[in-house]
């Protein structure tokens, strides 16, 4: 074999090794990323938090997720159901033609293209780098335009004065709010309250994880079994997906 062929082989060999290294190295760091983000580090776009709801495991009378959210975030009933904020609710469905029933929790879908973020005049409704859609109550003026825009009725307006808020979850009169995916818990490497309660009770209807991580349970399940987005016709690329409807 000529020296030129030998050089070529060495080059190709080196190139393959380098490429292999480049391909594997991110996987090695991905395993590390599963640990909590340090407190002084900003959230970034490498992760995208999402949830997968298996409606076959969701029982019709069960309200565990709703109660857990209420307890964690201080979202409680004041006896005025039409004006009380609700961050998550159980929806009972019945197909008109076939009569099949479903039950599922509905909350902010944390869309990748959120209509609420587009319409907010001050930019208070925003999407964090890791996909969580939040309301910055420091600059929310309470115009309720995001409530008009949301296809899922995910947002609530606080109609009365609030007291004894959870220090981790500031919320107050005159601002609009919605499911935060328990961002204060996620940043401490915990699960959202609804997911945790569902798990603790043994139903396991809600799965939480990083949609961008191909090795996460949620990404694997979405890649294996069919799942749908509610109002998929709007092309919002929601972070919450449903199976079984």
């Amino acid at each position: 074999m000529s020296s030129m062929d030998k050089n070529r082989r060495q080059l190709i060999g080196a190139g393959v090794a380098a490429a292999a290294g480049l391909v594997i190295a991110p996987g090695v760091t991905l395993l590390d990323l599963a640990h909590a983000r340090p407190a002084d580090q900003a959230a970034d776009g490498t992760k995208r938090w999402g949830m997968l709801v298996d409606t076959n495991k969701c029982a019709s009378g069960c309200n565990d997720c709703v109660s857990a959210c209420g307890k964690e975030n201080g979202v409680v009933s004041t006896g005025h159901p039409e004006t009380d904020p609700q961050w998550i609710r159980k929806v009972e469905l019945k197909e008109i033609k076939s009569g099949k029933t479903h039950s599922l929790p509905m909350m902010c879908q944390h869309c990748a293209e959120p209509p609420c973020v587009d319409v907010c005049p001050t930019g208070a409704s925003f999407k964090r780098a890791d996909g969580i859609v939040l309301v910055d109550r420091h600059i929310c003026i309470g115009c309720r335009y995001c409530m008009m825009a949301c296809p899922y009725k995910a947002r609530s307006f606080v109609h009365e004065e609030l007291h004894d808020q959870n220090p981790e979850v500031p919320r107050g009169k005159g601002c609009v709010e919605g499911c935060t995916l328990c961002v204060h818990r996620i940043d401490k490497d915990q699960l959202p309250a609804c997911v945790e309660a569902c798990k603790a009770a043994g139903h396991e209807a809600i799965l939480f994880g990083d949609l961008n991580d191909a090795n996460s349970e949620i990404a694997k399940r979405i890649a294996t079994y069919a799942s749908t987005q509610v109002r998929a016709d709007l092309n919002l690329n929601t972070g919450v997906r449903y199976q079984g409807i």
């Binding site: 469905l93 005049p121 899922y152 307006f157």
Partner: protein
Amino acid sequence: MNFENFHRIEERVFYALVAVLGLIVLLGAGAWHYMEEHGHIVTGMSNQIVWGIPHVFAIFLIVAASGVLNVASIGSVFGKTVYKARAPLSGLMALAMLGGGLAVLMLDLGRSDRLIVAMTHFNATSIFAWNIVLYSGFFSIVAVYLWTMMERRMNGYSKYAGFAAFIWRLILTTGTGSIFGFLVARQAYDAALLAPMFIVMSFSYGLAVFIVVQFVMYRWNGINLDPAILRRIKNLLAVFVSSVLYFTVVYHMTNLYFAKQTDFERFILLDGGIYTSLFWIGQIIIGSVIPLAILFHPQLSKRCNAVFPAALMIILGGFCQLYVFIIGGQAFPLNLFPGMEVTSSFFDGRTPHPYTPSLPEFLLGLGGIGVAFLIASIAVRVLPFLPQDDFSHLNKAENITD
């Protein structure tokens, strides 16, 4: 046109008028304070009907403000002499009504103490934020326009200012219509048609308001309107009202045929209770059919006594139209799961979402109207806004038809 009986109204009457309007404004301010103190729980608005009566008043005032400037535009931009004399009053009404409408909108905010935040934080993708820019610009442009019309040395520039105001007004009203048109999630709103529809609505309401204001001013000052001018104005009003009717038909046809939103259409047109009544009786019969009958009637339409109530009915019809549009559009629930019956603790699937307007909301809305008319009354007393046609110039027959 008859100036023989012209007289200014007495001082006492003027002060009484200002006192009454001031009281209305004060009640509106009191209602705002009450809502601010206790939260929106004291109103009829809820998480289902998030925009209520204050928004109906505010949007009417804003849309009519843009439309009332039409009278001036026809004079400055299209060069029709008869309208030129009316241009300053039209500009004043535009400013006053926009001020009143924005006051109601800003004071209904959940955090109305954060107006500075609204002005310093601007989200460029939000049509709402763009509207704030457009409304502020409208004030400046119309102020300049009024100046060019009322200051002799600047009269030469009034057609440029008028043109700028005209274009700005079209963009502004398109923006107002788009506030609703961009809401892709709701069956009542997701339509490009809403932008031109709002423009035509503004023409209709604005001219009706102008006719009412001009009529009252002339009555109180002992002036009669020339029949030829009345004929032109009432014909224009009839055209605008017919256009609004046309757009309403197209809007509903679009919903039914292209978007196949039959449930929503059935709700509005047939079994929506108050919304159906307000649509057919308020908007169509009182707001469009009866006024058109008056405006096209060969004898009635010649009399101010008939055209004035027609204009009032058009305004009332406008309020009904906006009530059905804004509140009826929210009363019909969002359809998250097509083909399924839905229930939840958050009232998914419940038709209609109930709404009972409360007193503070009405007082706030009326306060906005009070602000508008207070500004207009004081300005009209102090500055020469009364339309005075120059008849030596107009008596040449061809000028009337110019």
